[in-house]
Amino acid sequence: MTEADLLTLYREQVLGHAKSPFGRGEPESFDISAKGQNPLCGDSLTVFINENEDGEITVSFEGTGCAISVASASMMTEMISKLPRANVQALIDRVVTMLHDDPQSPVDKDLQSTPVAALSGVRTYPSRIKCAELAWQAVAAALAGESTTTTETNG
């Protein structure tokens, strides 16, 4: 194993988002919020959602997590910014499906040019997929009216 292999997981874009994440911080006001937890590794991210009068969603987050979960949350705030609410769940489903895809398969063409494509390396690290999913599942939970979600059931 060389450091080049590790870089499929920790790509430069991923490390960049992890070190200086976008959309981090609790906004002064928000419409809905949910906490995503990954008890096994201690990741805990809270997402805050605001919906404007045009029905567009903007997301921010706060919390602690590994580089993968923070990078994914950061990418998510870029991708869910003034996105029509009706389109959010479909995007989440698309991202989650991509993260769980066979490592050999090409990244969903609709996601290829988005930030989250850089996270496709987690597909070869099954124990880390839940890290990449965490923020996205938290937004899905918030939109479904739940206040918490977990990507892990044991620990």
């Binding site: 194993m1 450091e3 292999d5 590790l6 997981l9 920790y10 490390l15 008890p39 096994l40 590794c41 201690g42 990741d43 805990s44 602690t64 997590g65 590994c66 580089a67 993968i68 690290y125 124990s127 880390r128 890290c131 620990g155």
Partner: protein
Amino acid sequence: MSAREIDTLDAAFLQRMRVLRGDFPALRQEVNGKPLAFLDSAASSQRAQPVIDAMAHYEGFDHANVHRGVHTLSQRATDSYEGAREKVRAFINARSTREVIFTSGTTESINLVAASFPGAPIAAGDEILITHLEHHANIVPWQLLCQRTGAVLKVAPVQDDGSVIADDVINMMSERTKMLAISAVSNALGTILPLEDIVPAARERNILVLVDGAQAVPHSVVDVQALDVDFFAFSAHKMTGPTGVGVLYGRESVLEAMPPWQGGGDMIEEVRLEGTTFNALPYKFEAGTPNIAGVVGLGAAVDYMTSIGLENVSRYEAYLLAYLERRLDECGDIRIIGRAPNKASVTSFLMDDVHPHDLGTIVDQFGVAVRTGHHCAMPIMNRLEVPGTARASLAFYNNEADIDALIDALESVRKLFK
């Protein structure tokens, strides 16, 4: 053991300990193209070849149900099963095999005691005393008991360095304290608790004492009579044996005062539809066909550990622990979490701002296995204000090369994240 003593361990002793690595087939492999450096024995140890052989022999030749048949295989299986009970009795110096109950592991052992609480039923306002560094297995069963009964869970404090001061525990004992449930060794921090000072104080106050010994049995001699505890729980898989089997030692008079836990075959004397009388100890607490192969493996693990000598294990692991912590300290950017003066060979640590989960994934790419996360001890992680740690835990089959591999791999973590 002081650093000076450690440095003067004689070469012949070190050589004798180092060859033991050869008894562990799993350690001969490469992981991700690098020799495996297995530093996760506190989660589960690797299995010794004699254990693997004993279980394979049992499964291949001696298997039948125990305590039931008149035929030869049933007798052989029973002899192996009960023979293991005697080995365990001698291993922990219990007075009698009636005090050795086989369970599925430490967790089940503790749940058994919490469910079949000895003596007068627990009442609202009674207290169960634990410490802040317990494993979830020694917290949650008591919380469930408290929910059922209205009893109160009391928690003795832990110092910032991870140590537990005997008086801090003793001062929390009250007239309402019915049980002290306490670890011998912290799985998350390696702290060795001062049971020799704490247990007598509990005994004087007629408080029952249960010791979670899961992390003690792989590292040091255990003598339940010298400890003078009522219960001592441990698992086979932390001491080179198989998963799914463990022991509850119980003081005979206390076990007699406990109702059965689970009902079924083997635990009965006579069953009538109007009512049942129960079998004698230890069978009263062993309902149903047990994990016979697991118990055989446990017996083989006891033989194996005894043949090495737990005093030798303690001495060698203290030497390895000192080497590990010295190397980590030399890194400059590593914070060791848990600096109790008296520690078993378990070291939790953090590297600056790098999340332990990332660290664990990266060192694995270099063949180094460490545990990351909260180690099933969330309260002590919260107490020390860390979301989790990376944990390197050593067994007697580790060596300096394993530790060097970790230190080298940490350099790659550093490169990637800084």
